[in-house]
């Protein structure tokens, strides 16, 4: 080999994180960077792993490749100007983040929300939850080596995106909620589309089950893999399908009821095994439950205004104080903590991302598993990297 700049060869030996992990690595092990560019880390998660053969001895997630300072940005713009940021925290379940933020603002200023707006919020959030689960489903199977399901999932997701485009005007990074209601009312076209979508999606789910869930290879890959004990969920603060997959019936929609969720009858699916299959089945069952909520909400949506009179405008100032509001996102509990000093910009805005807590499990969970199982575990946590980094 030719002579090289020593700085260059040092660069090839990895950065600070790699070298730190490598310095503690054993003699016959392999230190491997999984990510930030890797097909199954879904974006830019980076996991440094120490391998012994195909077994993972240690894994260390490295975050921050998609850090955009959303919390700091809140301190620099007014309450209303910050709204578009929320759609960009978690691009798959943007509606829930919208809701968590406007919920906190409403609680801070004591704004009442019209009943129709609450129904619209439930409908769009549940639709968005289904689309989020569909993307997870497709991408997860892509991780497991099945190429076809993601295209079926995207075919169904496309209908949801088309539907949500009617009231929101966007397809991914929604900025639809306003403190005191929603930006636009839903129309007949949307409701009619929703009413045809619900039976359509119900008809698709058995096909999903036949094609994928009952497949013997999939069962072999998911069952008894990545078992998360409930105690570990509690230590790391895991929420959403991860904790429900471990047998705990915890859902913010039931535990800290908000909006009109109390008026609908729906089930909180849980699974007692705590393995990847448990989390998988919980998410698949959640699609059905979201459809049940949608059906009830679409039937009983009351007339009325979609936005309260005198809703906050751009330079609106809330009273000084603090407020915390949590909603159930597709990935778990989304919390927004706002501190107001009475000016038109928040003093502090803390975003609690469920993905961050769920991902924290990974380092402990992946100890001693196969590389292929680590991919299955990572996918079963349903990580959205921009949400983790914020």
């Amino acid at each position: 080999m030719g002579t090289l700049d020593p700085g260059f060869t040092e660069m090839l030996s990895g950065d600070f994180y790699t070298r730190r992990l490598a310095s503690e690595a054993g003699e016959s092990t392999l230190v491997l960077n999984m990510g930030p560019q890797h097909p199954s880390t879904h974006g830019v998660l980076r996991v440094i792993i120490e391998l012994d053969g195909e077994y993972i001895l240690r894994a260390e997630p490295v975050l921050g490749y998609l850090h955009r300072m959303h919390e700091k940005m809140a301190e620099d713009r007014t309450y209303i100007q910050y709204l578009p940021n929320m759609g960009r925290v978690d691009y798959l379940h943007a509606m829930a983040w919208n809701w968590a933020y406007v919920g906190a603002v409403e609680r801070l200023a004591g704004i009442e929300v019209p009943e129709r707006a609450e129904y619209i919020r439930v409908i769009v959030t549940e639709l968005n939850r289904i689309s989020s689960h569909l993307v997870w489903w497709g991408a997860y199977l892509l991780d497991l080596g099945a190429f076809t399901p993601i295209l079926y999932a995207f075919e169904d997701r496309e209908i949801i995106l088309d539907l949500l485009q009617i009231p929101t005007g966007s397809r991914l990074t929604y900025s639809y909620f306003r403190p005191g209601g929603v930006a636009y009312d839903i129309n007949e076209e949307f409701l009619a589309g929703l009413k045809t979508f619900i039976p359509y999606m119900r008809g698709r789910l058995p096909m999903y089950r036949d094609l994928v869930t009952d497949n013997i290879i999939l069962k072999g890959r998911l069952e008894k893999v990545g078992v998360i004990p409930l105690e570990m969920c509690r230590r790391y603060g895991a929420t959403g399908p991860v904790v429900r997959g471990s047998g705990k019936r915890y859902d913010v929609r039931i535990a800290e009821p908000y909006s009109v969720y109390g008026r609908f009858s729906f089930d909180i699916p849980t699974h007692s095994d705590g393995d990847c299959m448990g989390r998988y089945l919980v998410r698949m069952a959640e699609i059905e439950q979201s459809l049940a909520i949608l059906e009830q909400a679409a039937e009983s949506i009351p007339p009325g205004p979609h936005l309260v009179k005198g809703a906050p405008k751009v330079r609106w100032k809330p009273p000084a104080g603090e407020a915390y509001f949590a909603v159930e996102g597709a990935r778990g509990k989304i919390g927004v903590h706002l501190v107001s000093d009475g000016t038109n910009t928040p003093y502090r805005c803390k975003l609690r991302a469920p993905g961050f807590s769920n991902m924290s499990l990974f380092a402990e969970l992946s100890r001693g598993v196969l590389l292929a199982d680590a991919v299955a575990i990572l996918g079963s946590l349903d990580l959205v990297i921009p949400e983790m980094d914020r």
């Binding site: 195909e54 199977l141 497991l144 080596g145 295209l151 890959r221």
Partner: protein, 334 residues
């Protein structure tokens, strides 16, 4: 000086017929293999498209028929890149080694009643022996690329190919026992025109074991672990670009044809069939099997590595041995 025709003609007659046949076959294969690969890639993308409820390639040429030609040209035009620290000789040798044995693999295959290049008695053995070279190329590719993902992919590839070769061989051996020959042409001759006269009827277990092993040997989904995209980025060929990758790609499709051709010759009556000429029956059956392999790929998730080896050592191996013993017993006693 006058050109002495008679001398050269006499010299031409001295060349053994076998030699002429092989040279002619190699020239034909130089066309057949790449053209078939182009057709297969197109077919695979169309099959994938229709399985996934989309049209597949549609832009280049009518129904996208020239898409693979465009892709091949793109591959040829790309820079051949060798990563820092890669072993220069072994890195390129691996790509060549992946493709070179393919030519030998095609020689003993009976494409039709007279379309057999090498009508040798050890045809089956020749194919099995040279198919093993593929493992070496995977091993070298993974080792020489100086990439950890490649290395893991290569380790998987070697373990997988070596393991699956054994039941594959045992399954073929059962048929060889029955027919008393390793000559593919003779094995085909021993079968009839109709499906119930084929070896698959008398040896269903061997066919099943062979086909599963053949899918694993060619590293096709659900056994595509050496290149498991979502785990190892691209496995053993992560660092190859342009035609370096093209060689592996070409050899994958050529190997698929070979394993299907062997399956057809040994189990499915080879070129035999009513009405149509033998060659069409042969190609039709081969493409039928290839479609099944493609169908697997676009339907199933990937198995895990320990499951893959468990399937081999705990199921296929005992099954094929039992089948072999049973065949031997029946042949000897009955």
């Amino acid at each position: 000086m006058r050109f002495d025709w008679s001398f050269w003609l006499a010299a031409l007659h001295e060349i053994p017929e076998e030699f002429v046949r092989i040279v002619a076959a190699l020239v034909a294969l130089c066309v057949f293999i790449p053209v078939n690969a182009l057709v297969l890639v197109y077919l695979e993308r169309k099959v994938a498209g229709h399985v996934q409820r989309r049209p597949g390639p549609f832009e280049v040429g009518p129904h996208g028929i020239l898409q693979t030609v465009a892709d091949a040209l793109k591959l040829v035009g790309k820079q051949l890149f060798r990563p820092y620290g890669a072993d220069r000789v072994l890195f390129w040798l691996a790509a060549i080694l992946a493709f070179a044995p393919v030519f030998v693999l095609f020689l003993p295959i009976p494409f039709g009643p007279v379309l057999t290049t090498l009508d040798v008695n050890l045809g089956l053995l020749l194919i099995l022996a040279f198919a093993g070279v593929n493992v070496l190329s995977i091993c070298l590719a993974g080792w020489s690329a100086n990439n950890k993902w490649s290395l893991i992919g290569a380790a998987r590839g070697v373990a997988q190919c070596v393991a699956y070769e054994i039941p594959l061989l045992l399954a073929l051996l059962a048929v060889a026992f029955m027919k008393g020959s390793l000559n593919l042409s003779q094995i085909v001759q021993g079968q009839g025109n109709w499906p119930w006269q084929w070896n698959v009827v008398t040896q269903p277990i061997a066919f099943l074991v062979y086909f599963v092993c053949a899918v694993a040997e060619t590293n096709r989904s659900p056994f595509d672990l050496p290149e498991a995209e979502s785990e190892l980025t691209a496995g053993f060929h992560t660092e190859y670009s342009g035609m370096g990758f093209g060689m592996f790609f070409l050899s994958e499709y050529a190997n698929m044809i070979v394993v299907c051709a062997v399956a057809v010759s040994v189990f499915l009556g080879g070129w035999k069939g009513p009405l149509l000429p033998g060659l069409w029956w042969f190609l039709g059956k081969v493409y039928g099997l290839l479609l099944v392999i493609m169908w697997f790929r676009w339907t199933y998730p990937r198995v895990r590595f320990d499951q893959l080896l468990n399937l081999n050592w705990k199921w296929l191996m005992p099954l094929s041995i039992a089948n072999l013993v049973l065949t031997a017993f029946v042949m000897k006693v009955v």
